[in-house]
């Protein structure tokens, strides 16, 4: 094979790369070495890399090349280099959960979704960094991580977002073709928006949690962070499915079927102008307005709506507190908790131990009402929701994330709009996709589509249609 200029390939979609591999334009070994070199060079510069797996990856790539030589094809992920958030166990490799108390932790098994990706020939090239313990105690600063703050590929003085900070940065910087992240409340959507990539949070229970660090049993979800919505579809098809090892498994599979996507003319999108015009930071409003106009031009029916009225943030915080305190009880009661980086997070976990059962149960009872409200919402009102993924660009690294260092905020708009959709969607187990939709002073922003449980094909179709009319997802940062 001729010498390949891989600089043109680092930001390609997985379908483009897979097609090139099948045409033998380059080998899986050459591709893996190129991506591993890039991940090892730039991963540490962006605090995105927890642990390189070059050696194992090249061995796997040789197997893939042997398969391709005899046309033993395993699907569109065959030969594709990917990374996983370092809360997914990989046999005999460090799995640190981003936290100093677990820096030497090694499991003797692979997480089930890692096994699934291996079976289809995808090539795991590295464990990617994350916020310590996925931020469950509530963290104040971006450096709440064993590997330091995730740095944004578009501006190193900015955060890559969390808690899937490594996956967001790695895909954004073209260090791997796709990554697996996780979301309890915002941790796929946020880094995807901040790093200018496409992230999909699946329906709760669609993707097995076996082998992933648990932060909150009833809120945790694993999902893909990719370059395109279509790529998310291919990855989700592989990683989804029933798993008896996961008590939260919904027992359902997902098949990516773009050929059956409903026409936009048959769908109603619910949105709230107040989200784009008032909740969004003033600097972002022109870009969000443009993005909204693109979606409106694509044939959907539109309906103005308002999110049901519940204390979504308070509920997710209480549920995460109670469940994480139980999961990490031994850590919190030991002195090892004080080894963690973020003081606010340490305090949050310690306080979580005092969560009264009756408060947790009240939150879980109100959650039943939330679930019913969104069920009624989608079956009586709209097919999709559309909302800014985040209302600001990525934070500066030195900014407190709790808003305490910010300038005084204007009064809150009277209408709720869809503000609170991140905790709300997670409480109700709803899937969402964030797609890049513009830039503000060189920093990416994203919009999210949200839909009812198990309708991921509808989300992916909406994201794909948006990406067919825009090129924000094709922009690439200049790394330093």
């Amino acid at each position: 094979m001729a010498n390949t200029d891989f600089s043109k390939i680092f930001f390609s979609s997985l379908t483009e790369i897979n097609a090139s591999l099948r045409k033998r334009e380059y080998s899986a070994v050459e591709l893996t070495k190129a991506f591993s070199d890039r991940l090892e060079e730039y991963g540490p510069k962006y605090n995105a890399l927890a642990h390189s797996m070059r050696k194992q990856a090249i061995k796997k790539a040789k197997d893939v090349d042997d398969d391709l030589k005899i046309d033993r094809t395993r699907g569109p992920l065959q030969g594709i280099p990917f990374g996983v958030k370092d809360l997914l166990s990989v046999k005999a490799q460090p799995t640190t959960w981003g936290a100093k108390p677990y820096a030497a932790q090694v499991f003797d098994y692979d997480a089930n979704i890692v096994k699934k990706l291996d079976k289809v020939g995808a090539i795991l090239i590295g464990k990617l960094s994350m916020v310590e313990l996925a931020g469950g105690g509530g963290y104040r600063f971006a450096n709440a991580s064993l590997t330091g703050p995730g740095l944004n590929p578009w501006d190193k003085s900015r955060w890559s977002g969390g808690s899937s900070s490594g996956p967001g940065a790695a895909v954004g910087a073209g260090l791997c073709t796709f990554a697996l992240g996780s979301e309890t409340s915002g941790s796929i959507i946020t880094p995807s928006a901040y790093c200018g990539v496409t992230g999909l949070r699946p329906t709760y229970g669609l993707v097995s949690r076996h082998g992933a660090m648990a932060l909150s049993w009833t809120l945790d979800k694993l999902g893909p962070i990719c370059r395109t919505a279509e790529d998310c579809g291919y990855v989700l098809q592989v990683i989804s499915g029933a798993d008896p090892d996961d008590p939260g498994s919904a027992g359902k599979s997902f098949y990516y079927t773009p050929q059956f996507a409903r026409k936009p003319q048959d769908l109603t999108i619910g949105y709230a102008p107040v989200d784009f015009e008032e909740y969004a930071d003033p600097a972002t409003r022109p870009a969000f307005k443009t993005a909204l106009e693109v979606v409106k031009s694509q044939g959907y029916k539109f309906k103005e709506i308002e999110i049901p009225d519940f204390p979504f943030g308070a509920m997710t915080s209480t549920i995460i507190a109670a469940e994480s305190a139980s999961i990490f009880e031994d850590l919190i009661k030991s002195s090892k908790i004080d080894e963690m980086e973020d003081k606010r997070q340490i305090a949050g976990f310690k306080t979580a131990l005092d969560t009264p059962a009756v408060e947790y149960l009240r939150a879980m009872r109100v959650r039943t009402l939330v679930q019913k409200a969104f069920h009624d919402f989608f079956y009586n009102n709209v097919d999709l929701l559309l909302v800014p993924s985040r209302t600001t660009v990525a934070n500066k690294l030195t900014e407190p994330l709790d808003g305490s260092g910010a300038a005084p905020q204007p009064p809150r708009p009277k209408s709720r709009g869809l503000s609170g959709i991140i905790p709300a969607g997670n409480l109700a187990g709803l899937p969402a996709i964030s797609v890049p939709c513009g830039f503000v002073d060189g920093l990416p922003i994203g919009i999210s589509f949200v839909t009812k449980p198990f309708f991921e094909n509808q989300l992916i179709a909406a994201g794909k249609l948006f990406q067919s009319a825009t090129d924000w997802h094709k922009k690439t940062p200049a790394l330093t």
Binding site: F310, I346, A347, A352, R362, F454
Partner: protein, 68 residues
């Protein structure tokens, strides 16, 4: 008016309280003067109060085995 019935009830409640205290796990040690801990505790209290304001019919059960 204090009746024998009321006195008996008070005695029962008093015993029950003592038993409950004896059975309750010891409270975790708390660091004094820790601003982050106090912030976290206050935030937790705020959360509980916000959730308590939701009108919750008695027959609504918790989503303890959550399936979407």
């Amino acid at each position: 008016m204090v009746t024998r019935r009321k006195l008996a009830l008070l005695a029962t409640v008093g015993v029950a309280a003592k038993v409950a205290l004896a059975q309750a796990p010891p409270a975790p040690a708390r660091a004094e003067g820790d601003a982050d801990l106090e912030t976290a505790r206050q935030q937790a209290r705020n959360n509980f109060q916000a959730i308590a304001r939701v009108k919750l019919p008695r027959n609504v059960e918790p989503v303890t085995t959550f399936k979407a």
